[in-house]
């Protein structure tokens, strides 16, 4: 009986070696870093590679003669940066620029600017497979800015390509 059991084990091990069954192979899924933030109560996200810095809300100096989406300019360690409000591009009401929030410094396609957000939720790696294309029912103006959607804490997150926002600004 013991010798038969041993024979059986030897055969089983040999088969496993040949077929590779029983071997555990670690496959790491491709991930992408997103900066999740809140605007008008909803979750949105920028690609992490596009965000250079996140600043606490600071005094914004209004520049007369600029369009509504230019909130103004700020002093960042002796350099002057512009600050955008992207609410109108997303069909959202204008936020209160004097009331807290954060400024995300974004840079893409050679353009750099701060972007006003209500709050920063998280900076987190999402599996690429979790990012879905935008709904075809989304309105055209918004669709041009949105590159996908995902889920965070059970809620929908709209992913915005900041390069497309910069491209929307008419020079």
């Amino acid at each position: 009986m013991d010798s038969e059991q041993n024979k059986s084990d030897i055969i089983s091990d040999s088969v496993k070696k040949k077929t590779g069954k029983g071997q555990i192979v670690d496959v790491e899924e491709e991930k992408i870093k997103l900066v999740v933030f809140v605007l008008s109560g909803d979750f949105y996200a920028f690609y992490g590679s596009d965000i250079k810095e996140i600043l606490p809300h600071t005094k914004i100096f209004f520049v007369p003669g600029t369009p509504d989406y230019i909130a103004g300019i700020i002093n960042v360690r002796g350099d002057i940066e512009s600050v955008l409000s992207i609410n109108q591009f997303l069909g959202l009401p204008f936020g209160d620029e004097t009331k807290g929030g954060r400024i995300a410094i974004a840079e893409k396609n050679g353009i750099r600017s701060g972007v006003l957000v209500d709050s920063i939720e998280d900076v987190i790696d999402f599996p690429v497979s979790s990012i879905k294309p935008t709904l075809p029912t989304l309105d055209r103006a918004k669709k041009e800015l949105v590159s996908g959607e995902t889920i965070y804490k059970g809620k929908n997150v709209t992913i915005i390509d900041i390069g497309n926002v910069f491209g929307r600004i008419r020079f």
Partner: protein, 136 residues
């Protein structure tokens, strides 16, 4: 660079002294048919507007017509070296009306640097249409 730092519509601005001919009472300037611009709104001031009754106007040098910039408050005359003058960020410079040629830092604050002899300000004075001057 020596600049006159003033406040207009709650916004702190600076005008290079080399571009300013003089500072006059607003009322007198309007009575002499000068075109006075409120840079905080981009609108010409009417003689009847009470908000500016006791204010000053910075008269622009070298203009064919009498052109001035409204000032609610004159704060100081300050000297800035070349390094203190910063360019406006590209998104602001490109989308604005060209009234400002840069900014200077005053502590943590940013002071907009007016371009009194620049094309945009002079161009505004040339059109003379109040409605077209409203920028926001």
């Amino acid at each position: 660079m020596t600049a006159l730092v003033f406040v207009s519509g709650g916004i702190r601005m600076a005008a290079p002294a080399s571009g300013i001919e003089g500072i006059v009472d607003m009322q007198r300037a309007l009575e002499e048919d000068a075109k006075i611009i409120d840079l905080s709104t981009g609108v010409y001031i009417d003689a009847g507007e009470s908000r500016f009754k006791d204010k000053k106007a910075l008269m622009v040098k070298g203009a064919d017509k009498k052109i001035g910039i409204a000032a609610d408050d004159l704060e100081e005359i300050a000297s800035y070296d070349g390094n203190a003058v910063k360019s406006l960020p590209p998104l602001v410079a490109a989308s604005g009306k060209g009234m400002f040629k840069g900014a200077v830092l005053k502590g943590e604050d940013v002071v907009l640097l007016v371009d009194p002899c620049g094309g945009s300000l002079m161009g505004w004075a040339e059109t003379g249409n109040k409605d077209s001057q409203e920028v926001r």
